[in-house]
Subunit: 436 residues, 2 copies
């Protein structure tokens, strides 16, 4: 007789019955008189308890190895003394579906890089890593819920480009039949083309590629970007309002679904932010930071990581808020397609969003006027030839628009208090890592 | 006074009031006594009617060009004689937000390739193309709803690989700092790693890359794949059941949301399929086809496009069903990682799903036993060295699993009765096309 699989978390309902549990051997304790096998599935762990009897079952249990995949069929028994749910399984048969080799290449003391080499084991054996991907799923659900409710259209823009148009420097180049192609650093140009194609609100979650030789805890050569582009905006404020509403909705959903588990596994409280988020201009941020001794030479145009952390700490102290929009970036550190402020063309209508000191988003109103775009590209000494396909999208009627790009891994990193983007990614890619 | 924007579809509620309409100049009819401007936004079209009066407004309207982006403010007036909703706008001001150059590079007679060159205009000016992306959004919503309800986790697997592992032949190669990387042909290996990482059900929608020099109406070098991988299956039947349920749910959602619009714009009826879908083995398919004179030499192992169309037509006639699973593909035309049938190792536990004669999915139970995988790779004369990271995922306990890969563009193509995948993609990529 075949007994149907029961998840560990549902065993309590089956006390007194014979069921099958499918999972991994988490721990083996093979004592002189007793054999204990802790079996783990995605819902929890259960103890399998067998009294030695010199029978075939004893030999089968003795031959198990940690992380082997097993189907154990047996009776569910109330056992108040057992920590794992106060029950145990008295086995009748053990089936090894996949025997794990020994020894395992990692254990609980293994460092990050070697854990990444064996990422499937690393994720499988740590409940917090399992939780992370559940949180990621809920995050995306929340963002889509909000975006769909606003009438957004989900687009898939190409990752293969004919020219290295956006900047050229940090772009991967590949052979493409008899010529070259480039990997998109962001959906920027294409989501703007979708705006010009009459899509009112564009939403995309997909991979972006950066050929940056950066080895920091927050950079990757491939990561998942969340991109939004909104047509018919009255100004960049509409983009920031969209983002803060989307995040408030999404973080609320994560808090409801996983708040308790996140507290338990990551020791972090998920706080649903109030809207609107605080906003300060870059000039104000500089003033605040310089009062605190930051950038004593007074030469920095941008915020460095230390500046980002300090300004977030300042806002948190002043307002209690974990988020802050930094607005009005000077044109020198923003791309040519950011719109400039009509009454002060030295600043762009752009923003970054910091969360607990880390930049999680860059956004802006885009320049939609062809002649102004040409002028701004020329000012940045950009050749317009590789930009022609992009620029064409503004020659035949493109509405005012703006948008944002968010790093999904960074959001997870801050939300769960992780030290590195490597922990927030299933299979991290960096200058030194293309495997597994 | 600034009047807030009203969408064209909502104008009826504003008769007698002054509002702003924002959109594109769809058509200009500048007559001797009257000026008519048809303005189009994402919700519809409205006529702006102005009696010539030698005033500044007359000159502004006269200077408009087709596809210019305008904000027209005026009074909404009941006008039973007007085809577009029985109302018109009597303009007070016209603001040109972006003037379109003339002449437009495409019109309604332009062929496909040139339309693709100006895809933003092509999509913007055809309501059916706008509808297509709305349908795509609903399709994805439906698939995610089903997958989430089944407990699936949304994963983002890397597109950059260290080795050209899956086959090597159809892989794009790129420079990666001081070495080479390859673009993933599918998330196949990585979604299996996620299974080995303890994720019970994996779901991903993302780009896949194929360096195939194919110029057919159904191939692209980059397309959006829908990937599912399910752990703890009892057999490949579980994968087919997941897919047919997912499609039935999704197609039902599309029919509810867009059925009428699809009928109007594409002349196609969206039929919600019954489950289960018909299933026939490849051997049965061959027998049926050969009776009809297909493959007179009797040498073909696979189905060619003609065979796919014929077998679908046959099933449709026999059962009334638009879908058919072809199962039990011979091992020679399936990859090494497909599981073979225990009592007949000449066939794999795999399937393709045909919809109205087109293959939209390939799926299989995967071989999860390390030693068997090694043997099957050797039989296919594959070098195991570039496969080592993949193979490692089966050495330390990987549960039985299987999954499927679906082409989103192909699903759209069949659903809407399109001639080419180029029409089902926002920005198509093929051997000869990397732009715009």
């Amino acid at each position: 007789m075949i007994h149907s699989r029961v998840h560990v978390s549902d065993l309590r309902e089956h006390v007194g019955r014979t069921v099958s549990v499918c999972g991994w051997v988490n721990t083996l304790r093979l004592q002189r008189k007793m054999q204990f096998v802790i079996v783990r599935d995605s819902t929890g762990m259960v103890q399998v308890t067998h009294k030695r009897d010199d029978g075939p079952l004893e030999a089968e249990l003795e031959a198990l190895t940690p992380e082997s995949v097993v189907r154990i069929t047996g009776r569910v028994v109330d056992a108040a003394q057992v920590n794992l749910g106060g029950l145990e399984i008295v086995p009748e048969t053990v089936e090894v579906l996949n025997r794990a080799a020994t020894p395992l290449p990692i254990d609980e003391h293994t460092g990050l890089e070697q854990r990444l080499d064996w990422r499937f084991l690393d994720v499988r054996r740590r409940p917090s890593a399992q939780l992370l991907f559940a949180v990621q799923t809920t995050l995306e659900q929340g963002m889509r819920e909000y975006a769909y409710a606003q009438g957004a259209t989900e687009m898939h823009t190409p990752k293969l480009m004919g020219t290295a148009s956006e900047s050229g420097a940090e772009v991967f180049k590949l052979g493409y039949f008899d010529r070259s192609a480039y990997l998109a650093q962001s959906p920027q140009f294409y989501k703007q083309m979708a705006i010009s194609a009459g899509i009112d609100k564009v939403f995309e979650i997909g991979p972006v590629f950066r050929a940056e030789p950066s080895f920091t805890s927050r950079h990757a050569t491939e990561f998942t970007g969340v991109d939004v582009e909104l047509a018919w905006i009255d100004g960049v404020e509409d983009v920031m309002a969209f983002e803060e509403q989307m995040l408030a909705h999404t973080i609320g959903k994560v808090a409801d679904t996983h708040g308790e588990a996140i507290r338990e596994h990551f020791g972090v409280e998920v706080t649903v932010p109030n809207t609107p988020f605080p906003r300060i201009t870059m000039a104000e941020a500089h003033e605040i930071l310089r009062k605190g001794g930051w950038d004593p030479q007074g030469v920095k145009e941008d915020l460095d990581p230390e500046g980002e952390r300090s300004i977030s700490a300042h806002i948190k102290e002043a307002t209690g808020h974990e988020f802050v929009f930094i607005t009005h970036y000077p044109i020198g550190i923003r791309p040519f397609y950011h719109m400039r402020q009509a009454d002060d063309p030295s600043v762009t209508l752009s923003f970054d969003l910091l969360w607990k000191g880390l930049e999680v988003t860059t956004g802006a109103q885009r320049e939609h006027r062809y002649d102004v775009l040409l002028k701004q590209a020329a000012e940045k000494s950009m050749s317009t030839e590789p930009l022609q396909d992009y620029l064409n999208a503004f020659r035949y009627g493109c509405p005012p628009h703006g948008g944002l790009g968010m790093g999904l891994g960074r959001v997870l990193m801050v939300m769960l208090g992780l030290d590195s983007i490597r922990e927030a990614t299933f299979l991290f890619r960096g200058p030194n890592r293309l495997t597994p």
